[in-house]
Amino acid sequence: MAPGGVLFHQFVASAAGAVNITLTATDPAATLVGLGIGIPGGNVGSCDLTKSVQTRPGSAAQLSVLVDAGTFCAGTFDVGGLGTKGVLVTYSVAHP
């Protein structure tokens, strides 16, 4: 993810339930980034965010929300602290 950038992807929840998003790793390690979830739309990164947090990588989900069935988007964004080389992020999205 580049400085000032976003990195979102879409996923489909086949039923209503909980979505858990975990930022598992960053390189450089322990980088503070934004983590968010929303629906595909016209905002930055083509994702209209519903909920977001600023977090560092860990093993437990940093963001958990309930969703209806449908198409959603989730991902990371720079909160202002990235160096010129950006950051490599790894996150997982567990959904119904």
Partner: protein, 143 residues
Amino acid sequence: MKSIRMIALAASVAAASACGGSNTTPTTPSVTVGPTTELFESTLAPRGASFFSFTVAQTGDTDVMLASVSTSTAPAATTSVVVGLGVGTPIGSDCSTTKVMQATAALTSPLVVNMTPGIYCVRVFDLGNLTSTVNFAVRIVHT
């Protein structure tokens, strides 16, 4: 010669089918239309309102989800401000709501309304909580 025989056979089968038909009344096949998802994105000013019209093709539930409210289009600008959310029918240049509620952005549908075919609208309005204009996105799933 072979092709001529095949044409003759086909013609006789068609004639037999026509003669053997029963006197049934033609029926119009029913068509089930899948849910339609629409996205209503706009801005909401303090003391303002905004609405979006959509057409329900057949009787069924309509789900209305206030999916996003943000102070700008930047990803970190999400807000949990409470706004008004309603459904109703378009009237003039506004939306006459029949069901309203207070809502914050969430990915579940707080408004589920059974609707018959017709034109309806979703209205988002300030309850007095806004101090500046916000962006919002509403997902509408209807039949």
